[in-house]
Subunit: 205 residues, 2 copies
Amino acid sequence: MSERYPSALLESAVNELASLPGVGRKTALRLALYMLRRDVGYTENFAAALVALRRDVKYCRVCHNICDDEICAICANPQRDHETVCVVENIKEVMAIENTGQFRGVYHVLGGIISPMDGTGPGDLQIDSLVERVARGEVKEVILALSTTMEGDTTNFFIYRKLAPYDVKTSMIARGVSIGDEIEYADEITLGRSIVNRTEFKMNS
Amino acid sequence: MSERYPSALLESAVNELASLPGVGRKTALRLALYMLRRDVGYTENFAAALVALRRDVKYCRVCHNICDDEICAICANPQRDHETVCVVENIKEVMAIENTGQFRGVYHVLGGIISPMDGTGPGDLQIDSLVERVARGEVKEVILALSTTMEGDTTNFFIYRKLAPYDVKTSMIARGVSIGDEIEYADEITLGRSIVNRTEFKMNS
């Protein structure tokens, strides 16, 4: 169905909204009309917040988490255990683990997961900088907290081999998270326990 | 669950996205992270389109439909039958009826529906300007195409009484649209037929 919009401005706004993942054209139109019912300041603040995020956001030089400074609040916190590094796929997993309140170490955000299907190889991820952190002797334990999918297992195995030459313990979160699930959707109790009950990474485990 | 965001910029963007109707905080975070994966120009264009819509959109002086000029493309079109006015709740209904290709008349957009529950009374809607159009003698038939809900029936009845003193035929779309449904979600065949098979508005019909 080709839709005819009564206004080019409306069509353009709907096109932009519908370009978001999971937003269809009906929803996009509904959102655009919602903005028309609010005052001008609402849309201006909305737009400014998104542009400010995209233009000004920084990534922590140590762990690659999103932050507003050079170093993120977790890496800059002397109360955290900087010898225990939890490797996660993305910032959503950092937030999910932080919300459990069960982890006092620091993070390393890969920025993705090895996925030949999506064209993501090890070179696209922050794996080299993880190896450098370990090579500097700062890290005693690396906890692998990736999704329990085939891609997660592949990435776990790749990192495990990369870290093998170094004197570092490699563990992974307990498989309390059900197989095939995404980390970010696990409930806090299960996710917290899986951090506490982490097991040493072994091949064929 | 109080969420701790690693970046105030991210939190601000998530707050704005989550203020949209039907968008929860998880979805808002997913959308914000999606923007971070796209280039800066994507978010800038996105934001600019929304602000341009809100700032620059106009409403047709005749029918109150959204448009880019003083008069909308439908009202400005001499090929349309300007003596037949279809009264709709909102611009979404104009688009839905236009998509059926069954209607060659013009519209009158009320901007809502009488709903005491939502605090919307007749004075909040473009009913007076509809009466003026009819009073000027320009209109031969008014087709009421409001949702077949109690609020729609109330509004139909209110408009019917307002137009009673004038020499104008008042019809309403055939009740092919199932009772309790919203106009915008009706399929094109049903909606098109209900325009063609419209019936004269009578009390107790």
